[in-house]
């Protein structure tokens, strides 16, 4: 079994998929998203739910969770400890023609998969862009005074619509995680087996320096 230290890559039969920095950032991010969703429901469906806490308190929790939301991701990209996160962001950014084709055909085309498949890459991109947009529109709603009513309406529209979309994507993400135990385990413990990597992420597997034939 591999140690969980981010500096030690893996043993012969296990590869490090997510280092400690990435796992910490992921779970802090998940915690904040959870708090945002839990507080968003009574704020949006105020007419359907009696509030457990006063509305103003719920608003404050939602506001501060939203403001600190980017911090885990940003910190995980910085400095020496962010090296693997930055490498993985590059993986998410660079696509081969095969990957584009695979996504267009919804997975029904041959692909020698990278560390993350195109669906996982799109999930990362969508959630990342959503954080930026939700933060921006949320800030307009909170500090509304300099903005015209038309901009406020637009920000309300985008913040609300995107929250529905995000909720769907997050539910999908959780379903995928619960039905893919090896991947889920690597978000807790960091590693995947070499067999898994050779089967699911062959292009990443081929890059590994200590590369026992499967």
């Amino acid at each position: 079994m591999a140690t969980l230290d981010r500096t030690s890559s893996a043993t012969a039969d296990h590869l490090l998929r997510f280092d400690r920095v990435q796992r910490t950032a992921h779970w802090l991010n998940a915690l904040l998203f959870g708090a945002l969703i839990v507080t968003a429901i009574p704020l949006y469906f105020g007419s359907l739910f009696g509030l457990v806490l006063p509305r103003h308190t719920v608003e404050q929790i939602h506001l501060y969770c939203g403001l600190v939301l980017p911090i885990p991701v940003v910190v995980s990209l910085l400095g020496q400890w962010g090296a693997q996160m930055r490498r993985d962001i590059r993986r998410v950014s660079f696509w081969t023609r095969d990957e584009v084709h695979w996504l267009r055909r919804l997975g029904r085309s041959p692909l020698r998969a990278d560390k993350f498949n195109p669906g996982q890459k799109m999930n990362t991109i969508f959630v990342g862009a959503s954080i930026v947009v939700m933060l921006g529109t949320g800030a307009i709603l909170k500090w509304f005074q300099p903005f015209s009513i038309s901009i406020r309406e637009g920000a309300t529209f985008v913040h609300d619509s995107l929250s529905f979309l995000l909720a769907l994507v997050i539910v999908g993400h959780i379903i995928m995680a619960l039905t893919h135990r090896d991947e889920l385990r690597s978000m807790f413990l960091g590693t995947v087996s070499a067999q898994w990597a050779a089967r699911v992420a062959p292009r990443w597997f081929a890059e590994q320096p200590h590369d026992p034939a499967p």
């Binding site: 950014s93 890459k121 969508f126």
Partner: protein, 242 residues
């Protein structure tokens, strides 16, 4: 663990492209576009969707029900009382039927929240606040009017001149029916020329006072003069706060 971190992963399937960065920037751009045109898109979509789904989905012209305390006060129509007190010659207590017996004013306006949502063509019926103040006899030295709510937490204020505007009413009907509990019934304030937070719900008391007492939302950062965009209450200097 990646031996060549600065070169993109190569593949036999042709050159790699920064699809991810483009998609990311495209999505953020879509968000900015949505802010620019979202108000218009929302009104088109909500007209198309009708009133059924519009109450829940984000493109609907739906009410967002706000409560400060976490619940809606339950006041029966029979036990409802409105006190008018403070710097007045005749402190008065009104029942709901007392209010309904007074000359009524009907207003049909867009209800507009300061955070950007709105509901068009809402009909309100009630008594002009000015009529209640005149009946009570406002004394010299009165500067502001403060309002209390049955929820025990919300408060609001208007200047004495704002309180005399003809489209500021003590409302007991909304869209032709008694105002429901969640909308602030049986009686609420409706300040048509200002944002929704000025229209205090579950109105319990009207106090004429010698200064402006900032209300709950003003203490939480909202402007004391909540004029809607485009209404120029401030062109009359007496209506704004100095």
């Amino acid at each position: 663990m990646n031996p060549t971190p600065d070169t993109p992963p190569e593949d036999t399937a042709g050159p790699v492209r920064r699809v991810g960065r483009r998609a990311f920037l495209g999505l953020v751009g879509l968000g900015v576009l949505g802010v620019a045109v979202g108000g218009r898109v929302q009104s088109v979509l909500s007209n198309a969707a009708g009133s059924g789904l519009g109450g829940v989905l984000p493109f609907g012209n739906n009410w967002r029900i706000y409560t400060i305390t976490g619940n809606y006060p339950l006041i029966s129509r029979d036990s409802y009382r409105l006190q008018v007190s403070g710097l007045v010659d005749h402190p008065t207590t009104y029942s709901l039927s007392d209010l309904e017996a007074l000359p009524a004013t009907t207003l049909v306006k867009t209800f507009q929240c300061v955070t950007g949502w709105q509901v068009p063509d809402v009909e309100w019926k009630g008594v002009r606040l000015a009529d209640l103040l005149t009946a009570a006899g406002v004394q010299p030295g009165a500067v502001g009017v403060s309002f209390d709510s049955y929820d025990g937490a919300d408060t609001e204020s208007l200047t004495i001149d704002q309180a005399h505007l003809s489209d500021v009413i003590v409302a007991y009907e909304m869209l032709g029916k008694p105002i429901t509990r969640e909308h602030g019934g049986p009686v609420r304030l409706y300040v048509a020329p200002m944002y929704g937070y000025k229209s205090l719900k579950w109105l319990s008391a009207i106090r004429v006072v010698d200064r402006i007492e900032p209300g709950y939302w003003e203490q939480n950062g909202y402007p004391t003069n909540g004029w809607l965009d485009g209404t120029t209450g401030n062109t009359n200097p007496r209506l704004g706060l100095a």
